[in-house]
């Protein structure tokens, strides 16, 4: 058994012990749970990502609104303890059904998700280490990297046009070998296939990551590990709108919601390549008008500590002033190959200070 799984077991036992102790002293037991409220999510300037602060909430046996959650936490704890013991995993949905047999069930899936998160922050152990996995697969990866999962070894350039799909259990996968010089992540699978078709993996000697929108936990963990273990720069290219910006930023500096696990998920050295407001101007891209909700979101981003760098402040202001947004694929206006032939080489060369092809 891996060491972090042993730690998890000990912490689970401790949670039960804490309640029993109080009962023996004829006191009403309660648990302290680090607050996940916005007030306790703090941006760490040095680490460049969000983490949880010191604030804690109490869940007391004597509170009518809290006791049910307390009972649920104990039940989930016992379920996880069993999973870790037998070295299996389950989806949240499976646990939801398993909970049918418990003394206290869940009203809905969201409730069980919340309780799981409560346990993660209380024990300081991630759900993956408790054997609970999300359903969703991660991104597609294409390019020269050799991986090993259990006994199987394979290279992500030799798996067909769709490449390698990052599994939820990415932490169990070993990075065996790679010679790429960089990693480029793109928001849409359309762009991913375009890059594969234009052989960008060879021309730029890069891994291509197709994010499929907001990056899953597994994708963020993969990018972080790739950045750490391959020691190459990571570039992210998304749609030129507040949502594209933020998909990149969650990869770079983590989300507020997962402040308790950002230390494993964030890749603070990753770089946003585009589409920027400057790109819209410089490349005269086809655009859509910013909707009210886009403008409101941009203003939110401008006030977010993750965006305090000059680059972001300038680009956000410029986009609001332009009043327009553009998609990644809008470069097709100049022909299908334009983005690979021109845009990527231009932008990456400028950052790296040398031609990349």
């Amino acid at each position: 058994m891996m060491k972090h799984k042993e730690i998890a077991l000990n912490k689970l036992r401790g949670m039960g012990d804490e309640v029993l102790e109080k009962i023996l002293q004829e006191e009403v037991p309660s648990l302290k749970i680090p607050s996940r409220g916005t007030g306790n999510i703090i941006y760490n300037q040095d680490k460049r990502y969000f983490e949880l602060g010191e604030r804690k909430g109490t869940r007391s046996l004597g509170n009518v609104k809290q006791i049910k959650k307390m009972a649920q936490m104990m039940c989930v704890g016992n379920f996880c303890k069993e999973l870790v013991n037998i070295q299996k995993t389950a989806t949240m949905r499976e646990m939801y059904y398993v909970s049918e047999g418990w003394d206290v069930g869940f009203d809905n899936q969201q409730e069980s998700n919340n309780i799981t998160e409560d346990i993660e922050v209380t024990l300081g152990v991630s759900r993956e280490n408790l054997g609970l996995l999300p359903e969703e697969d991660g991104a597609s990866v294409y390019g020269d990297i050799t991986l090993r999962d259990d006994d199987v070894e394979f290279n992500a350039k030799k798996l067909g046009k769709s490449g390698y799909t990052i599994p939820p259990t990415i932490d169990d996968v070993e990075f065996v070998d790679s010679n790429v010089e960089r990693i480029i992540a793109v928001e849409t699978m359309g762009m991913y296939h375009r890059m594969v078709q234009e052989k960008a993996y060879d021309r730029f000697n890069t891994l291509i990551v197709g994010l499929k929108g907001q990056a899953a936990r597994a994708t963020r963990r993969f990018i972080r590990r790739a950045s750490d273990e391959l020691q190459v720069p990571v570039y992210i290219c998304n749609d030129g709108d507040p949502w594209g910006f933020h998909i990149a930023m969650v990869i770079i500096s983590g989300s507020a919601k997962l402040a308790h696990v950002n230390h494993d998920l964030a890749t603070p050295d990753a770089k946003f390549l585009g589409v920027t407001a400057s790109d819209i101007e410089n490349y005269d891209l086809p655009t859509d008008k910013l909707k009210d909700i886009d403008v409101a979101r941009l203003k939110e981003l401008a006030a977010d500590p993750r965006y305090k760098a000059d680059f972001w402040q300038t680009e956000i202001k410029k986009m609001i002033k332009l009043g327009r947004k553009a998609e990644q694929q809008s470069f097709s206006k100049y022909g299908l190959e334009y983005i690979v032939d021109n845009y990527f080489p231009n932008k990456i060369s400028a950052i790296e200070g040398k031609p990349i092809e």
Binding site: R13, M15, G16, I67, C75
Partner: protein, 554 residues
């Protein structure tokens, strides 16, 4: 095509009041079949109640409605009031604009159109005369007289077709009167509901009503307390116009203006007269007949500037909160009820009034519509139910303006609530001829709001306590279910035995508190009112009707 002027005026006519109203019966409230009949009930019942009250008798009213054909009914009405002296019978029943109620007194009827209007409607729709029976005290003697009369529309007087005396040992009056083009309905606007509300607003009255199916309802009185006799109240100076003063001056025998003012108005003292004389320069010893409009106006303007004692209120006789609660409880059997009688107030500066309000919640409160109980507003003025035109009424306006959610009623329209409001005044400001709604005078609306909010707070407290008790019980249940789970699962997690936890359980469930709240919610026992309903026996219908005709009241 031009015609001569004099030719035009050949057709010039003068009408009597009867002729006028014959052409304009809607001005008497007679529009629509249901409304017409309800107005008839209203006129006859209020007359009986007023008459009994004036002589201090507990009213005992009998009404029978017989169906003679489609939209064709015979109504028999009788009371135990003082009766009407022979000479006045045709005036009361056959002359419009004649009556005894033109004084400034709290009374139900007021216009001198009630009885004669009913007779006019009867005559217009059936052509039949009406039969009147009156038993009254003539000196020390009791006299009974029965008359068959018609209304001479062209002359606005009565015609006696038949007259006979009979012996009697009590007083009272009664009428037998036929109508066509009217209809009996159980709806909120119908005659039955009118009687039911009358009983709520007049718990001292006993009413026996036999409906057209032969079913007999007996509403026994809820109290034997005879309501005090209302007194005439002199108008308050703040409430009179220059025209009123001129009108008083013309009709008086007084020799001096100052005596007229002091005797015809309330709160006008010799000192006030002096103040007026000094301020206006008018000679207060002048003969009233010589007072000019300018002088009258000057006096009224001076009234406006002066301070007077509030109008006298001893003339106003409210039902009383205790009686209201009794009336409500016995008819509606509510889960909770409360009532209030407020102190007198004045509107337009000089007309005093009293607002009474009651709320009934749960039980049979509200109106049953389909299977749901909806809120009902029971409006009264001087104890008389107001049935029509509720939209524009001060009572409706005041109640709608209240934020009922603040009193624990989320949606007033769909709550099992009856709200009772009665306005007592010598001069209720009705909005229209039919006297079916009260003008939304600022002071009246405010007072209704205040009164209702005051008792609504009691309702809110009741609803809140009831809810809180329910919540506490639910809360305890949750702990009883979940405390064992937490402890069992904790033990499993810690891999230890389950400890004893009774003490902690006791602490978190608060059992004592729940017992205490339940005690506070108990309501006093209510004895349901005796509304005797007698179904007609299954004999042929004419028999039932005949049996009733023998009732000695007719």
């Amino acid at each position: 095509m031009e015609r001569d002027t004099s030719e035009l005026f050949e057709e010039f006519k003068e009408l009597t009041a009867s002729e006028f109203f014959r052409r304009n019966k809607q001005m008497l409230g007679f529009s629509g079949k249901i409304r017409s009949l309800t107005i008839v009930f209203h006129e006859l019942i209020t007359n009986s109640l007023d008459a009994c009250e004036e002589v201090g008798i507990l009213p005992d009213i009998t009404i029978e409605l017989k169906r003679l054909g489609k939209d064709h009914y015979l109504l028999k009405h009788a009371d135990n009031g003082p009766g009407i002296p022979e000479d006045y019978i045709t005036k009361v029943y056959c002359q419009m604009f004649a009556g005894s109620k033109f004084r400034n007194i709290q009374s139900r009827g007021q216009q001198g159109l009630g009885c004669s209007g009913c007779v006019l409607l009867s005559q217009m729709t059936t052509g039949q005369p009406v039969k009147i029976r009156s038993r009254y005290k003539d000196g020390n003697e009791l006299k009974g007289i029965e008359m068959t009369v018609k209304l001479d529309v062209k002359k606005n007087t009565g015609i006696i077709l038949n007259k006979k005396e009979f012996e009697t040992d009590r007083t009272g009056s009664g009428i037998e009167i036929e109508f066509k083009d009217v209809s009996y309905s159980m709806s909120e606007q119908g005659a039955y509901e009118y009687i039911r509300r009358t009983v709520i607003g007049n718990p001292h009255a006993r009413i026996v009503f036999k409906d057209p199916t032969g079913r007999k309802y007996t509403f026994e009185r809820a109290t034997d307390k005879i309501p005090p006799l209302p007194k005439e109240v002199l108008p308050h100076p703040k409430g009179v116009t220059a025209d009123d003063i001129i009108y008083l001056c013309k009709g008086t025998n007084k020799k001096r203006f100052k005596n007229l003012l002091m005797d015809s108005l309330s709160r006008v003292s010799a000192a006030k007269i002096k103040e007026i004389q000094e301020a206006t320069g008018i000679d207060m010893n002048k003969r009233p007949k010589s007072i000019t409009w300018k002088e009258a106006e000057a006096v009224v303007q001076q009234f406006d500037k002066m301070k007077f004692m509030a109008p006298p209120t001893n003339g106003l006789k409210p039902i009383g909160s205790e009686q209201i609660e009794k009336g409500i409880n016995e008819i509606l059997l509510p889960e909770f009820s409360t009532a209030i009688t407020r102190k007198p107030q004045a509107y337009r500066g000089g007309v005093s009034f009293i607002v009474e309000a009651g709320i009934a919640y749960g039980g049979n409160s509200g109106r049953l519509i389909g299977s749901q109980r909806k809120a009902e507003i029971m409006r009264f003025a001087n104890r008389v139910p107001l049935t029509f035109d509720q939209g524009s009424c001060a009572i409706t306006e005041a109640l709608k303006s209240i934020d009922w959610r603040r009193y624990g009623v989320r949606d007033l329209d769909n709550a099992p609530i009856s709200v009772f409001v009665n306005i007592i005044s010598t001069n209720v400001p009705y909005l229209s001829t039919g006297k079916q709604s009260v003008a939304p005078e600022e002071e009246i609306v405010r007072e209704i709001r205040q009164a209702t909010m005051k008792i609504a707070r009691k309702l809110e407290k009741y609803i809140r306590t009831k809810k809180a008790a329910k919540n506490e019980e639910m809360r305890a249940k949750i702990f009883e279910d979940l405390v064992p789970v937490v402890i069992k699962q904790s033990a499993l997690l810690a891999e230890k035995d389950v400890p004893e936890y009774n003490k902690v359980m006791d602490e978190v469930t608060h059992k004592a508190k729940i017992m205490d709240m339940k005690n506070r919610l108990k309501q006093p026992e209510i004895k349901p009112m005796e509304v005797k309903t007698e179904e007609p026996e299954m004999r042929i219908k004419t028999e039932i009707e005949e049996e009733l005709s023998e009732d000695e009241n007719f």
